[in-house]
Symmetry: C2
Subunit: 219 residues, 2 copies
């Protein structure tokens, strides 16, 4: 999610002055630590160790623990928005477009469980950090606007029913993708099944796509 050249410097000699790379490895280590343990459980010393640097650097670049967490959250949003911009669904048939958006979202969550965890952490804290971020505008998703166009063409073609709020469709996709993965631990225990077996994941993906299409289907 951060610059791919970022790598912990554990077991390495100093490689020279590179503030951008130092910040990147700190951010990556902090992402893992905050995602695994939340704000209250994350430890500054552990983040420094995981990054292969020292905590003087953390305070030098990010100010304090919360400043580091905010940078992690902003980077996480930047990453998903960057990935979303690579998706262009407006040039496809409506049903295909919607399927593609649904699969993209599912696979993004599947490949980025740390993003799910960070969202849960931020909601636990009532989004106070997100609200205070000057980069808020960058976190908006253009996909709802694109989705609006897709739904409109679907209505025109007679495959989608009219009167659907695109935000609701976006939230339907996100709901089905997020909940399954976010709650995989408790659900696996409660239902006595391993929800993260490859077959189950593939089955849920098909169920997700089918449900989203069914929810907008013309009668």
């Amino acid at each position: 999610m951060v610059d791919s050249k970022a790598q912990p410097m554990v077991g390495r000699q100093r490689t020279g002055r590179d503030p951008v790379r130092t910040q990147a490895v700190i951010l990556e280590a902090a992402t893992a630590e905050f995602a695994e343990k939340g704000i209250g459980g994350a430890r500054v010393d552990t983040i420094a160790q995981r990054a292969g640097t020292n905590k003087r650097m953390l305070y030098h670049y990010f100010g304090d623990k919360i400043g580091l967490y905010v940078a992690v959250l902003e980077a996480a949003y930047a990453a998903i928005r960057s990935a979303e911009r690579k998706l262009d669904i407006t040039q496809k048939e409506p049903e295909e477009a919607l399927s593609e958006l649904a699969r993209f979202t599912w696979h993004y969550f599947l490949d980025h469980p740390e993003f799910i965890s960070l969202l849960n952490t931020e909601n636990l804290h009532r989004a106070v950090h997100l609200k205070g971020s000057p980069r808020l505008r960058e976190m908006h998703s253009h996909l709802v606007t694109e989705l609006e166009q897709v739904l409109k063409r679907g209505v025109e073609l007679g495959v989608f029913r009219a009167g659907i709020d695109p935000l609701n469709v976006y939230l339907t996709i996100a709901s089905l993708g997020f909940f399954y993965l976010s709650n995989r631990h408790t659900l696996s225990v409660i239902f006595g099944r391993n929800l993260t077996e490859p077959e189950r994941l593939a089955e849920w993906e098909e169920h997700l796509v089918r449900t989203v299409l069914a929810s907008v289907k013309a009668e």
Copy 2:
């Protein structure tokens, strides 16, 4: 979620020996504290204050902070299972039964945001506390079995399509209800809308019910 006679004893004199009630007020205060702050952010002294008792009592009855948290989690599961047992969907028309289950789940989550938060906390910790609970069996939901019967009758009547895993329908309902409320803070910031306005909540409830029914509809 806990015994209704539980009430904080703040500002009250000692009201006599009542270990059941003392434990109940501690559990209620602890539920609020763990739900609002997670395990790492919750404070034992604050729980005692919120309960109107002292922390000697917390350690006396629950052993330690984690023991208290586990008791909170078990009580939360007991409460939703108790509420679920009052629901009988097997005697209704399949579509009505499914609608009722969907609305019940939505309203349960709406009325119990602390349950949502505790589930997120427990998943952050990979359900290690849940796994270790001797009350695990009590946490299973009988509703999947009932749902299986409802789906079967729906297929027989020709209103539902065949081959649907009842667990997937249950997860669909839970997904749509859970995600919206769990992420209400970040989503409200990102999309610039207050997702918890009464009109939005009512609209989402209708969308939830419609989507669940559409997902099982016979073709």
